[in-house]
Amino acid sequence: MSDTSTVNTESAFKDQKQKMAISARNINVVYATPTGDIPAVRDVDIDLPKGSITGIIGESGSGKSTLIMAIMNAVTKPGKITSGSVILNGENDILQLSSEKQRKIRGKEIGFVFQAAQNSLNPLRRIGQQILDLGRAHEVNDLRELIKYAKRLLIRLGLDADRVLASYQHELSGGMRQRVGIMFSLVLNANIVFLDESTTALDMLSQASVLEIIRELQKEKNLTIAFVSHDIGVIADLSERIEIFYAGEIVEEGKTSEVLASPKHPYTKGLIKAIPKISGDIDAAEPLKGSSPDYRTFKQKGCLFYDRCPIRTNSCQDSRPELNITNRDHKVACFRVGANDRD
């Protein structure tokens, strides 16, 4: 009677959990600065379903990159994770694991692709040698097979594999380095890949081809991808789910097509209005008023978007809004959802 139903709900719950590649709860990251402690990421919950592409968009300094780093427990000083749990594949909270186990997860279970501008490779070692280092660190038994796989990936990415493996980092162009970075993230067969502004420093053509490659690889290997960017066009193109980040919090999330077609949060609305459309008057594009949050904003009791919000009211200053469902899995954190501008 009730036993079977609880068993059913339990297994249903487990199924639900196992559908999540990453399930992060209550992530809080704080940066210690001369002007006080700044909450870079505040009480964030995020789910990355297996096989999905999630885009995380926000301004510079909104905390989106910090969130990704926090999930991997790789936040750099002076930042510190003050609370949170990250459940990987429905099993363990990786933030509670020993540092050795965490190290093994990084690279093998979760891959990371850096910004194109960063030099993510050791300038004094050849690419091939660094792949071997990677293999040895993760106890790969057949290193020769690893190299072969790396070569296959590189060819897939459109590079001359033999030449690249024998090269040093400075001998490769920016676009090539970016693809090598992608290869590094996949060579150990990670199922989850994080990309942090990976196309920001590339020209439009390289950007398009890198995005195309990411799309293809994702389909092939059923990867779970989280893509962080401040370029809404890229996110719109690539992701199926979208998370809008502002001042360390998620203010809106949902299916990309839905959120972009009918945005509910005033910030999202503002972001979209700020994009000039290819057809139409360029003056119709309206930038967001005000400026990015600084250390004073975080001391506010109320909504952090208050200073720039066109539909604010006095009651918005009293407390922070929570993420609430509007329909299906479209969530918004705003007291005034449903209201129009200048209401």
């Binding site: 210690a32 600065t33 001369p34 002076p78």
Partner: protein, 305 residues
């Protein structure tokens, strides 16, 4: 919409006028941030005062007291006496002028030669760059101290101005190279291009646009240059290759070790140790102060965390 009841006494909001932290204010703050730097600064000020006013405190020929040769430390002779009975303290104080003056001049010459040549080479690239760099490399290659020693046979540069000049001539190489590379990278920057576009004369660009940006490097180098010059000149006098001009610490060291045999006879020890101590103290002061100068010129180092 304020009702009379809620209108509290309104403080006129007068924001502190933001005139931008002036350089000297910021500099002072850098110095006072750590006690060690204050100590360093105080030491340097002490020696500078010694250099400027020292000789005025004593008659131009220091009193000789044949009864007090190598006298032990006492209230009358806080640092003992030398082979003639003159107080070592007096010798140190009067000797400071030469040491610091020559070093300051030397650093000044080094910085002037180095900066001007570096700026020219870095900005007007081309044949002027090549020529200047060849000469600089030449001077950089020749080990400066042996060169100084060899030059001492040709020219007697005992006078502080001459000493400063010679020191400057032999040490501008490093400065020139560094200023040149800074200039090279700066000249590609936006503000220089803008200045060029505005039609400003190269002279103006060099001295009003580029020079201020290099000044941080110059400031730091001035101090380290002074240190280097002090050692060089004291060393030269110590080795005895430059004839005795006026009393200075290097001469004292030379006399102490080679004439007075201070190494073996404990009596003459204060005569040896006084200049050593003075040197060490001054070095300490400069090292401690250097920390502040570093921060003054490099705001990125102002970490409060």
């Amino acid at each position: 919409m304020t009702t009379p009841g809620t209108a509290k006494s309104v403080h006129t909001f007068t924001p502190k006028s933001y005139n931008g932290a002036s350089f000297w204010k910021a500099a002072w703050r850098s110095i006072t941030r750590k006690t060690s730097r204050i100590i360093g600064f105080a030491i340097i000020v002490l020696f500078t005062l010694m250099a400027i006013f020292g000789p005025y405190l004593y008659s131009s020929h220091l009193p000789i007291n044949t009864n007090a040769i190598y006298a032990p430390i006492s209230w009358k002779y806080p640092l003992g006496t030398d082979f003639e009975g003159t107080s070592n303290l007096a010798l140190i104080i009067t000797g400071a002028r030469y040491v610091l003056l020559a070093a300051a001049l030397g650093a000044l010459f080094t910085v002037i030669f180095g900066t001007v040549l570096g700026l020219i080479a870095g900005y007007f690239v081309g044949w002027s760059d090549s020529i200047i760099m060849r000469i600089t490399d030449f001077f950089l290659t020749i080990p400066s101290f042996p060169l100084l020693v060899v030059l001492s046979t040709v020219w007697n540069f005992g006078h502080p101005l001459a000493m400063g000049f010679i020191l400057g001539i032999t040490s501008w190489g490093g400065m020139a190279r560094a200023v040149r590379s800074q200039t090279l990278s700066l000249r590609e920057r936006g503000f220089v291009e803008a200045a060029r576009g505005l039609g400003l004369s190269p002279f103006h660009i060099l001295f009003r646009e580029i020079l201020p940006n290099v000044s941080s490097y110059i400031g730091m180098n001035l101090l380290t240059s002074i240190t280097g010059c002090i050692y060089a000149e004291v060393g030269l006098f110590f080795l005895g290759v430059v004839p005795f001009h006026v009393n200075n610490w290097g001469v004292m060291l030379n006399m102490a070790v080679f004439s007075a045999g201070a190494m073996s006879s404990p009596d003459a020890l204060p005569y040896l140790l006084s200049p050593l101590l003075a040197l060490l103290l001054l070095t300490l002061g400069i090292v401690l102060f250097l920390d502040a100068v570093d921060e003054m010129f490099n705001p990125r180092l102002r970490e409060d965390v």
